[in-house]
């Protein structure tokens, strides 16, 4: 129906903002986006839970309390409990040095901190195999001292620390750069010690950004697969983290158990996303960080 006939029928033509799309185009674009997201994000997420409960609650529960699964859950929690605090301390130190001072080579240092983001997880594991493996320089020395790093918990922790290395620092550097040094200088000139300044002035300023970084760091630490898979040795009940346990169960065609353990990790991802969204809405955390 053309504009003229509509006017002839007595209805004025509706105003349409010329800097806006036609309603039909809007609906088509929204539909396209939703269908795409449904196929690539929503259906995979839903299928994890559907497959996990395929044979009912009791099978699901059995798969989680089975000793190897329980050991994998404990190991995953242990690895995250060690690697997240390490990277938290590093993130605080690196962002303090980078954001509060002007020094030569700063942007090069930031590039180096970002390095693990652009390295394949498999290579992150490989570098430790080359460093500590039996035919490396350090391997025989450590072996004679009775220290095992590869195919044991220390190797898994190292690989996880490597992969999650930039998360906290990446979040804090832009945030602390934005805040500048005025607050700290005021505190110091009023007689606060350096430690007091950090504890009572800087830390309250960055706490939500810090929480945001820790959240992302933790999600990756618990879910890391490639790097850990290379250094773990896949010893059931001993060096299998949850993602590795999922792989073993899946390759044994034990799909219900694989998806049951996977559903716990998916739940962790959902909780992480919910908290992340909450932090962004309430405190604007992460807005400065951008990239992951």
């Amino acid at each position: 129906m053309s504009e003229d006939t509509r006017t002839a029928l007595g209805k004025p033509p509706a105003f349409r903002n010329p800097a806006d799309e036609r309603p039909l185009a809007k609906i088509l674009l929204i539909g396209l986006a939703l269908v795409f997201l449904a196929f690539f994000l929503l259906l995979p997420l839903v299928s994890v839970f559907v497959e996990a409960f395929r044979k009912g609650w009791s099978e699901y529960y059995e798969a989680l309390i089975e000793p190897d699964a329980a050991a994998a859950i404990r190991l995953t929690l242990l690895v995250a409990a060690i690697s997240v605090p390490l990277n938290l301390v590093f993130g605080l130190c690196a962002s303090w040095a980078i954001a509060k001072f002007e020094f030569k080579g700063k942007s090069f240092l930031i590039t180096l901190i970002d390095l693990p983001f652009s390295i394949s997880p498999v290579i992150s594991g490989l570098v430790y195999v080359l460093l500590f493996g039996s035919n490396s320089l350090l391997g025989p020395i450590l072996k004679s001292q009775g220290i095992t790093i590869l195919f044991a918990v220390p190797g898994i922790v190292l690989a996880t620390v490597f992969v999650t290395f930039p998360f906290v620092a990446r979040e804090l550097i832009p945030l602390m750069e934005d805040q500048g040094t005025g607050d700290e200088e005021a505190a110091l000139s009023l007689g606060a010690s350096g430690w007091q300044t950090f504890l009572y002035v800087t830390l309250p300023n960055i706490k939500w950004g810090l929480l945001y970084g820790v959240l992302l760091c933790n999600a990756r630490a618990m879910g890391e697969f490639g790097a850990v898979s290379v250094v773990s040795g896949h010893i059931r009940g001993l060096t299998n983290t949850m993602p590795l346990h999922v792989e073993i169960l899946y390759n044994e065609y034990n799909f219900v158990a694989a998806f049951a353990v996977a559903s716990l990790l998916a739940l962790l991802a959902l909780v992480t996303l919910a908290l992340k969204t909450l932090l962004e809405l309430r405190f604007g955390a992460g807005a400065a960080g951008g990239r992951h």
Binding site: A19, V122, F259, R291, H292
Partner: protein, 285 residues
Amino acid sequence: MIHNATASPAKWRLKRPSIIPGFGLTLGFSLAYLSIIILIPVAGLLWRTAGLGWSGFFAVLTDRRTLDALYISFGTAFVAALVNVVFGTVVAWVLTRYNFPGRRLIDAIVDLPFALPTAVAGIALAALYAPNGWVGSLFMPFRIAFTPLGIVVALVFIGLPFVVRTVQPVMEELDREVEEAAATLGANRFQTISKVILPGLTPAILTGFALAFARGVGEYGSVIFIAGNIPYVSEIAPLLIVIRLEEFNYAGATAIATIMLIISFVMLFIINLIQAWNRRRYGNV
């Protein structure tokens, strides 16, 4: 060489003077930690590669299986990044411009690939796109899982948030008045979008493409379950590294890792160039 006139010009300083304490401690700790965790291990990899010599390095590199694995990794990552550029831009547009029920929820779920462990994504996508899966059965007799197309599906999943989250903030900053000006000058909506809006988004879209591509090339966990892992057909380079390690073929694993590392450094360099170009053209975005 131009010297800063205010500071003592002849003296080279590491850092500008400041009353804030803790520089030595925090920088020292950061550098030590960085060296132990990242620099020394990566240098070890490069040192091992140097030990292979050119002939050893090229022998691995020109091996048919290595070349095919590299071709598959880079090819599928390229296709997936292209898909993400198209759909990621549409998703970012819909999320910034339109209001519809569930928009907040969908905005949050775009980050799912950042939070969901790759192995979980891998088995879920494999189950979904397998010939007997919910989506895979729709496309039968055309197979998605266990072919290179399955790898693309996994890499689209992994790369999507990189494109959406780099394009979205730039879209939010776009000045609506420029679009109104285009309309008053007689441009139709399509012309405004293709000639006014898209050129402003190009640097962000390119950065998103490069980030998604770089991540896709190295991706392992989500791919190996859906790929089928047939040598020469659907075997990705990171998997070939793992296979070489399991065969105790350290030379093979090291050489493949080094070539991937070099290519990702080049990618990182290109991303920085795009962002520098972007800053020169549009100010600090």
